[in-house]
Structures are given as structure tokens and as C-alpha cells.
Amino acid sequence: MSLTSDPPIDPPAGTPDGPPAPKAADPGTDYGELTVVPARHPWRWVAVAVTAVLVAQFINGLVTNPGWEWDVFAQFFSAPVILKAVWLTLQLTFYGTVLGFALGIVLAFMRLSASPFLRTVAYGYIWAFRSIPLIVQLLFWFNLAYLYKELQFGIPFGPGFFTFDTMNLVGAVSAAVLGLALHQAAYAAEIVRGGVLAVGGGQLEAASALGIPRLRQLRRIVLPQAMRSILPNAANEIISLFKGTSIVSVMAIGELFYQVQVVYGRSGRVVPLLMVATAWYILLTTALSIVQYYVERHYAKGAVR
């Protein structure tokens, strides 16, 4: 087994691509008949040995150190309270991603639009939401009722028609989704814009020369091609959002990280419960990475590479 792929074997000496044949050789030698000895890489084997020892030590530690408390881990890994928290974490990720990217796509095309007004609005939004720390934003939405006790729909500065109690309208979970989605949208917008810019200008020109309606140009011609460069970055964002949902624990929402803290606060078993959370994050991130692979393959249609 080799750790890296071997470099291509140099063309034999004397061929047009290879180094000039050594002068000492007989003029009549046919190098094609000689055996080729691949280059040796002894240091690779040293590296393999060192790494193997380190990994063995780590695994040994996991198994033999009683501090990991694997029995506690097993007990809580699939406990209903944890499963419920995992589900909430997934929901936060899902809504944060879907709403965030939906708004992000709109913002991206606004930034690319010919209208200075739309460009400025989108730029202002992205500037604001990239500048404000997510945790500050979340706490702000969570405490919205402190600033505005009621929300009213009506004529600006005039009479109102509907009035809502802010406390009832924006619960903790919806405040969290709102905060995550608005934050995500700013980043998603830039990722989508980057992808759109990577599509050659000739594509839009051809589409408009054919008279294809503007929205259809974006949806059918530009976005599918942009997806190739959007996807790796978008997957990064989704995975980072998935783990970033743990920040929502400051709002006392029962997602995975908060719930684990609650349990170890009661039982004092900090390490195994952190491992429960870690194992779930690893498991689900792996699942997302697998999905990413298939989605990327789908959008590679027609690519020659």
C-alpha cells in the first residue's frame, strides 16, 4: 500500500521525452527491453510506522482509561431526551439552511442586478449581518419583546389593523430559526454570487440572444452551472451551521448541546455526555458529507472532467 500516488515513471532514457541516453551505452542498445525499477520511498514507511503507533496509543487510551465512562455513554447515546434534542438540532439546521439559502439566492441576484437600488440594499444587508456576531443577533431576537411588546400591521405612522403580542409571535425556537437564517443568508448570498460569477459570460449572452426569459435564464442556464462551484462551499456552510446550532444553547433551547449540558449538570458525568454530543455531530456530519457527494455528482452532468 502506498500513502501517496506514485509519480509517473519517467520516460526511459533515450526516448524523445526522456533524458539523453548515457554516452557510455552501446549505440545499438534497445532500452525498451530493460526492466524498470520504480523509485523507492523508504521515509513513507517510517511515517506509516510512527502514525500507526500514535493511533494505537490513542485507541488504547479510549478503551482502558475509565474516565471516558463508556457505559454512561451507551446509556445516554440513544436516550429519548437526547434523541429529541438531536431532532431539534436537525430542524434548526434544516430551517436555517432552507430559509437562509432562499434569501441568500435572492440577495445574490440583487447584488448582481443592474439596479443600483437593489445592489445597495443587498450590500447593506450582507454588510450588517456579517458584522453582527451571531450570538448577539440571537439574543436580540430572543429579547425582541423587551424592545417591542406588540407588533402592529397598518399604515406606517398611522392607524393599525392587526396587533400581535411579540412574546407569543416570536417564541424561542422561531427566534433561533430567524437568527440563524438571517445570518446564514448573508453568507449564502456571497457563496451563490461567487458561483454565478464563475459561469462564463457567454452563457448569459447566448441565452439572451435566444430570447429566453430572464428568470428562466437564471434558473435553467446560470444556477445549474453555478451549482458546481456553489456546492462545496454550501456544504461547508450547512455543516458549520449544523454544529453552529449549539450556539443557540444560550437561549435555553433544548437542542443537542444544551440538553447534554443539562444532563451533565445534573449527573456530573461531563466527559461521556460531551462524547454523546460529539458522536452525534460526527455521525450526522458524515451523513451530510455523503449527501454532498451525490448532489455534486448530479450537478456534474455534462462536465468533461
Binding site: 457567454g202 447566448a206 435566444l210 430572464r214 452551472q225
Partner: protein, 257 residues
């Protein structure tokens, strides 16, 4: 401004600048229906820009262009010209086919999907009908068996033939070719020119920007020679190519022939 005549394309005193660079310095040209006009000229002479103004890929700064009796990019009301909205410009373009130097096929769509995209989305043709038309067009350009291929799987010449079929799918009244063979390997030029010649003999009005003098001689009804944003001279190929009146034309031809 005089009323658009019975010409298929009428170009009147068109000026166009990119920043401080004046690319078109007053172009006047008429193309009669069914005629093939070939535009020759050194690079930077403005011939591609002129072609692009005809379907409003470039806006003109001065002057006007009409295609089939309709002003391009503007609507006349009394003594004012109103700039058309993008949607209206797109509708005008469905009547003008454009073939690019670099093909610009949509790489993520199959050959068939490339051809039916505009008829289905811009002209709202039923998909079935569009597919039937596309298959006929593919046969016409000799690629009936490549309908399911992606552009990346085709040679340059095949891609350009698909691009021609894609332009024809809208049944345009005018076809514009912007150096259709310049990006091709020399041995693939012939197959594309054959398709264009076939269309020319079929009576399609077309304007072709090219460096293929042989093609101009064989197919063109009128050859136009441009230099530095102006039309230096124009006439039947036999006159312009063999007995150019202008010294500039003679100098250019002596280099490319």
C-alpha cells in the same frame, strides 16, 4: 430619420463607443431579404460589434437599426423613441438567430435540450413539437445520432453545427454569424461552412462576419469591407475581392489571400 424600407436589415448612421474608444463611426448598410452579406475586415475594425448591435446585444449610441421593418431596441411614438424593456428586447431577439464564435452551447444540457430550450421557454411551443423540430434540424446539420450527447462530448465543428441548429429552432427571419469558424481546427472548418452554404442556398437572409475569403467568394451576394469603424467599400464578391476600388481593401486582401 426616414421610415424603414423593404430591406430585411436597415442600418443608418450607427455610432458606438466603448469608453473613449469609438468602435463604430457611422455605419450605413442595407440587406435585402434572402441575401447573404459577408463582412470582412481586420480585427478591431468593429465588424463583430456591428453584428452584435443588430440584435441589441450592444446598444447603439447614435443612429438606428431595423430588422424586417421593426426598430431594434426602441419603439417609435410620434417624434420620440422609447427604449424597450428587457422583456420586449428578448421577444425581438427570437426573430434573429445568432451564432457565436465560441458556440456558447449550454454545457449542462444535452444537444436536444440545448435546441428546444428557447422554443419551449421563449415561444411557448409544446415540448413534443419542439422535439420533433429539433430532430429535423439535427438531421439537417448531420447530427441526428448525437441528440443525447452533451456538448463536451462533441468536436468543435459538431458543437458549432448544434449551435446553428439551436439558432434555427426559433425559425428566425435573419441569421447572424460572428466568426463561426474562427475557433475551429482547420480540418473542421469545412463541415460548418457546408451547413452555412446549405442555408444560404435555401434563401435564408444572413450576415456573416468571417475571415474565410473563399466562402465569401462562393456564397456572398454582397461583401462589405470594414476598417476602423467605417465601411470602406461594399459590392458583389467578384468586384470587391478581385477589383477593389480602395487602396485599404487591396492591402487587406493581399495579406489574407
Amino acid at each position: 430619420m426616414s421610415a424603414p424600407s423593404d430591406a430585411m436589415v436597415e442600418i443608418r448612421s450607427v455610432h458606438k463607443s466603448f469608453g473613449s474608444l469609438e468602435v463604430l463611426r457611422g455605419i450605413d448598410l442595407s440587406v435585402r431579404p434572402g441575401e447573404v452579406t459577408v463582412i470582412l475586415g481586420p480585427s478591431g475594425s468593429g465588424k463583430s460589434t456591428l453584428l452584435r448591435t443588430i440584435n441589441h446585444l450592444e446598444k447603439v449610441d447614435q443612429g438606428w437599426i431595423s430588422v424586417d421593418g421593426t426598430l431594434v431596441g426602441y419603439r417609435r411614438d410620434g417624434d420620440k423613441l422609447y427604449e424597450l424593456r428587457e422583456r420586449e428586447v428578448l421577444r425581438q431577439r427570437t426573430k434573429i438567430g445568432f451564432v457565436f464564435q465560441n458556440f456558447n452551447l449550454f454545457p449542462h444540457l444535452t444537444v436536444l435540450e440545448n435546441i428546444i430550450e428557447a422554443p419551449v421557454s421563449a415561444l411557448r411551443r409544446p415540448r413534443k413539437e419542439a422535439v420533433a423540430t429539433a430532430e429535423k434540424l439535427l438531421e439537417r446539420v448531420g447530427l441526428a445520432d448525437r441528440a443525447a450527447a452533451y456538448p463536451g462530448q462533441l468536436s468543435g465543428g459538431q458543437q458549432q453545427r448544434v449551435a446553428i441548429a439551436r439558432a434555427l429552432a426559433l425559425e428566425p427571419r435573419l441569421l447572424l454569424f460572428d466568426e463561426p469558424t474562427s475557433a475551429l481546427d482547420p480540418e473542421l472548418v469545412g463541415e460548418v461552412l457546408d451547413v452555412i452554404k446549405d442555408l444560404a442556398h435555401g434563401g435564408t437572409t444572413m450576415i456573416v462576419v468571417t475571415h474565410e475569403i473563399g466562402f465569401a467568394r462562393e456564397v456572398a451576394d454582397t461583401v462589405v469591407f470594414m476598417d476602423e469603424g467605417r465601411i470602406v467599400e461594399q459590392g458583389p464578391p467578384a468586384d470587391l475581392l478581385d477589383r477593389p476600388a480602395q487602396e485599404r481593401t487591396r492591402a487587406f486582401l493581399s495579406k489574407v489571400l
